[in-house]
Amino acid sequence: MTDPVALPARVLVVDDDTALAEMIGIVLRTEGIEPSFCADGSRALGIFREVGPDLVLLDLMLPGMDGIQVCELIRAESGTPIIMLTAKSETADVVRGLESGADDYIVKPFNPKELVARIRARLRPYSGDAGTLKVGDLVVDSAGHEVRRGGERISLTPLEFDLLLALASKPSQVFTREMLLEQVWGYHYKADTRLVNVHVQRLRAKVEEDPENPRIVMTVRGVGYRAGAPA
């Protein structure tokens, strides 16, 4: 990931509404972020490969190919943070978007501060350098952004890595969904706890040997989650 201080961060805006895309571009440039644009879902993956952005802003409704499919394609080859732009806050749409691999979502209409805060939160590398941690039979290398089981490297998106690291850095603590939203997503107010639920499921699918019977990310009924004890 590019350090936003050294080089301008690059954000790919995938939206068919050119006025909105341009306006987002204006807002991002004033914040020192370099935007690039794509107005067609079917061309999004090609432009993504070409540009290699640090983050993708993805509209859910697109001509050519809808945002969910684009999200799945990008996620299949990259862990680049994806923030969905959606006009719908109804459960089904949001959950579908998150399950397809988006890290976060913003409901239209949003204001510039909200947009920038969400982008910054996803571009910010995890601040704590906790060295090497053990969760269950996993080894989490916070400096190298790597998770290993035995000799095998497990590929996680930056968000999933942050989520695991947050839990692993305080193994004795039970994290509520609200705490995780603040620490991992950077929300400082009440936000959608479905974000946490969906991403815990995605993380478990990657790190657990049996996702039905988790040993790495444990559920604490009625409270939240905590890291499993080191094996």
């Binding site: 509404d17 006025a19 909105l20 306006m23 987002i24 204006i26 807002v27 004033t30 409704m61 006009a87 719908k88 459960t91 239209k108 209409p109 949003f110 204001n111 510039p112 501060k113 947009l115 009440k190 009625g222």
Partner: protein, 550 residues
């Protein structure tokens, strides 16, 4: 010939329902029977049919039993009187032909007479020969003889009639003592003249046990036949009622399914009778109902689709406007005063437009019944505290002090936190706006079924008529009233929908010059109806005029 009224042993009633026995059944069984009678048409019809047939059979049976009994008795009486008449004649002729001159010879004759009598009256059970009281005493005397206990059964009345009556024979019913129950019997009395000894009375005793036995047999046969007939009637009625009721039952079951939402169910149509007509009309009704529901569901889908489309189509340009307005607003210090003020106005009005749009979408979601509730355990006191914190700046600006009083409600109840938070914020916002800087008290309490929150301000209040319209969409108490918080006019309408979605209540009390009190009551557990609200409305500190709306 006199037939005395007291015909012993012939007056039994063959059939009868011992109703009192039913009353002695244990209560539960009795209640069960009453319940079945009330619930089941078949049971009722069969019971009524059986009861009426039983009454008819009882009357017929009683009449038949009486007639047969009488006939049997009369036949026996005729036989008995004829037999004893012959016996008396034989005895008289034997006595008449006597030449006995002393008592001992007469005794021998007496024995002959008695044996003769018994020979003639073969069916008699006993015989007695005794001197008639008051007859002339002759030179000779006969000893009174009684066989088979006959003399003990002769009544004074019979004796008086026999000795002094004009007829040859008299008879009377008697009860013959026997092991077990006494047998019905008949005594026939007649007089014989014994030459030289005077008037004697000859009594012959007949046992009618055989007649009684025949009668009992007939009665038993009738009883068994009657019971069998009643059972048969009950069975036939049951079958007939079933055949009529079965289609009705199918219709009832089908309407129940239809009401439960299985719109495709129909009643099979068979034949041309009234049941088939019922089935056809019912199916016609179901068809039309299904058509309308499908049509309405289609409309509802169109409506929801429209809401969704508006949501997307309107929100995208609004986002652009919002971003543009905010960029201008952030740079307003670089503008000349006119442009700067324009940027400010644009900024605030876009915000207002945005909240109006989101409220409109929310209300259309309710209208399309597309609103879904996501319940989670929520502590209403904590929620209220948070909501108070978010509006404190606004309250400070207006000079109102917010105070939370929570004697109860310190537990987690199942509710949709987002919606409840929206209600509480809305009530607080209204209270601050109309509170005229006076204290605002938020009270939370609970009881067995509900938890309630009341927001009480001491501001300008509303008239009764206004309070009744306060939940109407886009309604404002006073159109000329200055607005500072820029509400959309949909806030309370949405709050009311939110409360109803939880199965809760939202009530208002208000009085001009005395302030208002909005009370939200929510069920303690989802799905359990509220019995009463833990908080009083009008509030305890309010004057006694009740202005309760909704």
């Amino acid at each position: 010939m006199t037939i005395p009224p007291s015909s012993a042993g012939l007056s039994r009633i063959p059939l009868g329902i011992r109703v009192s026995a039913l009353a002695r059944l244990p209560r539960t069984i009795w209640a069960g029977i009453v319940g079945a009678f009330r619930r089941s048409l078949e049971v009722r019809i069969v019971a009524i049919t059986v009861a009426l047939s039983a009454i008819a059979l009882l009357a017929t049976g009683t009449y038949m039993s009486y007639t047969i009994g009488n006939g049997l008795f009369q036949a026996r009486v005729d036989q008995v009187t004829e037999e004893s008449g012959r016996a008396t004649d034989a005895a008289q002729s034997l006595f008449d032909s006597t030449t006995a001159a002393d008592d001992s010879a007469l005794s021998v004759l007496q024995l002959q007479v008695l044996s003769q009598v018994k020979g003639i009256a073969t069916s008699s059970a006993g015989v007695a020969l005794q001197r008639a009281p008051g007859s002339d005493v002759g030179p000779l005397t006969l000893i009174d003889v009684s066989q088979g206990g006959t003399a003990d059964l002769i009544t004074d009345q019979l004796q008086a009639e026999t000795s002094s009556g004009p007829d040859d024979q008299y008879f009377q019913s008697v009860s013959i003592p026997a092991t077990g129950s006494p047998h019905p019997g008949l005594i026939v009395g007649s007089t014989v003249t014994v030459p030289g000894a005077g008037e004697y009375e000859l009594y012959l005793l007949y046992d009618l046990a055989d007649v009684q036995q025949s009668l009992t047999f007939v009665q038993n046969t009738m009883l068994i036949g009657g019971l069998a007939l009643i059972l048969l009637i009950a069975g036939v009625t049951w079958i007939v009622v079933q055949s009529v009721i079965a289609p009705i039952r199918v219709a009832a079951e089908t309407s129940r399914k239809l009401a439960a939402g299985q719109l495709e169910v129909r009643i099979p149509e068979r034949g041309e009778d009234v049941i088939a007509t019922l089935a056809r009309s019912f199916n016609g009704m179901a068809d039309s109902l299904q058509r309308q529901i499908v049509q309405l569901a289609g409309l509802s889908r169109v409506q929801q689709r429209f809401v969704s489309d508006v949501s997307h189509e309107l929100r995208t340009p609004l986002t652009t406007i919002r971003l543009a307005g905010d960029v201008l607003y952030d740079n307003r210090s670089d503008f000349d005063p006119t442009s700067a003020r324009t940027a400010e106005l644009l900024h605030t009005q876009v915000e207002r437009f945005e909240s109006l749009l989101s409220d409109l979408l929310e209300i259309s979601r309710y209208d399309a019944q597309a609103a879904d509730i996501e319940v989670a355990p929520v502590n209403l006191v904590h929620l209220a505290q948070e909501a108070i914190t978010t509006v404190e700046t606004l309250a400070d600006r207006k000079g109102s002090v917010l105070q939370l009083v929570a004697p109860g409600g310190h537990f987690e109840a199942e509710m949709d936190a987002r919606r409840i938070r929206r209600i509480v914020r809305n009530l607080l916002g209204n209270a601050i706006e109309h509170g005229e800087g006076k204290p605002i008290i938020v009270t939370i309490d609970s009881n067995a079924t509900a938890v309630a929150l009341a927001v009480r301000d001491h501001g300008i209040g509303m008239s009764r008529a206004d309070a009744e319209r306060v939940f109407d969409r886009f309604w404002r108490a006073d159109p000329s009233r200055q607005r500072t918080t820029g509400g959309t006019g949909l806030g309370l309408a949405i709050s009311l929908e939110d409360a109803s979605l939880h199965g809760g209540w939202l009530n208002v009390w208000s009085a001009e010059g005395r302030g208002s009190c909005f009370r939200l009551t929510l069920p303690r557990s989802a799905g359990v109806p509220i019995e009463s609200s833990p908080l009083a409305l009008p509030p305890d500190d309010a004057p006694h005029r009740v202005e309760d709306a909704r």
